[in-house]
């Protein structure tokens, strides 16, 4: 079941990515399985899980591209900045396309706090997957 969902999510994602970027996403399977397990724990229905996984993967990949070290003499710096920016904008675009406006809204303070922590050299307080879990549980309780 997980394999099918992961394949579906990655196929959807790759179809969204503009070829000019030459981005090929290859997230670790264990990370994706962990995310799917968390979504299941939060009571997310199976049909919704691949699109949440795609959204999660886009955001996690955007963060990873912008993680330190970021040095001027790094030949990959340009691509890493561009890829991170593009994946972040695609995350927003794809979340809206999937009608996940409320997830996007509730994630936005977490995303911002992660950038603040990075800018201030602080530990990132809430791991991204925990933020997803917290929000999905809140949505479940609200419904």
């Amino acid at each position: 079941m997980n394999d099918i969902m992961i394949r579906e999510a990655l196929e959807r994602l790759q179809a969204e990515i503009d070829p000019v970027t030459r981005i090929r996403l290859k997230p670790e399977k264990s990370v994706l399985v962990e995310a799917l397990t968390a979504f299941e724990r939060c009571g997310v229905e199976p049909l919704r899980r691949p699109r949440l996984l795609a959204i999660y993967t886009l955001l996690a990949s955007a963060f990873a591209r912008h993680s330190e070290p970021l040095e001027l003499d790094d030949a990959e710096l340009t691509r890493r900045i561009l890829d991170g920016d593009y994946l972040y904008s695609l995350y927003i675009q794809y979340a809206l396309k999937c009608k996940e406006e409320s997830l996007l809204r509730d994630l936005s303070p977490f995303v911002k706090k992660i950038q603040i922590a990075r800018a201030l050299d602080q530990d990132e307080q809430v791991p991204l997957l925990s933020a997803f879990e917290q929000i999905l549980l809140n949505h479940k309780e609200a419904n």
């Binding site: 900045i81 561009l82 920016d85 927003i92 996007l104 809204r105 911002k112 950038q115 800018a119 201030l120």
Partner: protein
């Protein structure tokens, strides 16, 4: 008369809103390096063209001057500024408007995160909806930034590519420059409740205006002084950007041979004679004519919006973009 005065826009109100967005964020520690960097970036100023486009767009709706329009205007400038901070890193440019770039002051990693904060803060702010359909304001960030990135990829892809076509150049310029200007007008109008066909007309107006802006920028690389540009003249050519004047100059066999010899290791002093030859070749006049044709297309769209008093503001924008010298 400065453009903002002609358009009757109080730029101080926009700047105040930008600062308020930072200072009212309880997650940004007061007096932290992050807050200082953000306020310094805002205080460094700029033309504030995109906020002005949002404000002008809003005049085609029922709710111009609403506080949320000012917030959207500030958001447009946040998106633009974040992209400039990252652009300076991508180009390894040590100067921005003649002053040290942010990454020269706080280091590349922190500069990336300051830009990221600005983008993330915009999404957070625009998500706080009231009566509007939830996705409307959120999509502003998405539609604005994805295209900016594509423009950067295309520029990277075509660096020192002297076989680039005119269509490729226009696509890159639409993505990199014209699109954000166009959506600023379009979303300003939509947020103020303008009819959808008018929003679409304003997008098309903004796209032509933005394209003329980019071509004018390309021309300034040859005609403006280092002081006006905040960087040496010829920087685009030296950096491998195949701009419209360069595309036209490439049609001259003698110039083409010299242009094609410009590469990543060419020194600034080596291109000075070439710059002079391009200046006198007729390539600039042709690029100027293309720029004027884009502005005329923008004016034609403005003339079709005669039912609105704000039509005059569109024509003022076209006049300003046509006469810009730096």
């Amino acid at each position: 008369m400065p453009l903002h005065k002609k358009l009757r826009i109080d730029l101080r109100r926009i700047d105040r809103e930008m600062k308020r967005i930072v200072k009212h964020d309880k997650d940004v520690p007061p007096h932290s390096e992050l807050e200082k960097s953000l306020l310094q970036t805002i205080n460094a100023g700029g033309k504030r063209l995109r906020p002005m486009l949002v404000m002008v767009g809003s005049r085609f709706g029922r709710r111009p001057n609403d506080n949320r329009i000012v917030q959207l205007a500030a958001a447009a400038e946040f998106i633009h500024t974040a992209s400039l901070i990252h652009d300076d890193l991508i180009d390894r440019s040590p100067l921005r408007r003649g002053e040290p770039s942010l990454h020269m002051l706080i280091g590349p990693a922190k500069a990336v995160y300051v830009g990221n904060y600005m983008s993330a803060r915009v999404v957070e702010l625009l998500s706080q909806v009231d009566e509007e359909p939830e996705g409307d304001r959120q999509s502003f960030t998405a539609v604005a930034t994805a295209e900016l990135c594509l423009g950067e990829y295309e520029q990277l892809e075509h660096a020192y590519n002297y076989n680039m076509s005119l269509d490729d150049y226009l696509l890159k310029s639409r993505h990199k420059t014209a699109h954000l200007m166009a959506v600023s007008l379009e979303f300003g109008a939509r947020a103020a409740g303008a009819p959808e066909p008018v929003c679409q007309s304003l997008y098309r107006f903004g796209e032509h205006l933005g394209l003329s802006f980019q071509i004018r920028d390309d021309l300034l690389d040859f005609t403006a002084s280092a002081k006006q540009l905040g960087k040496p003249a010829g920087s685009d050519l030296l950096g491998g950007q195949v701009t419209l004047p360069v595309l036209y100059a490439l049609e001259d066999a003698q110039l083409a041979a010299q242009i094609r010899s410009v590469g990543p290791h060419t020194k600034p002093e080596d291109i000075q004679p070439l710059l002079e030859q391009i200046r006198t070749s007729g390539a600039l006049k042709r690029a100027e004519a293309f720029c004027d044709a884009e502005l005329q297309r923008a004016r034609d769209i403005a003339l079709s919006l005669g039912d609105y008093a704000a039509q005059a503001d569109l024509l003022s924008l076209a006049d300003y973009f046509g006469g810009r010298t730096f």
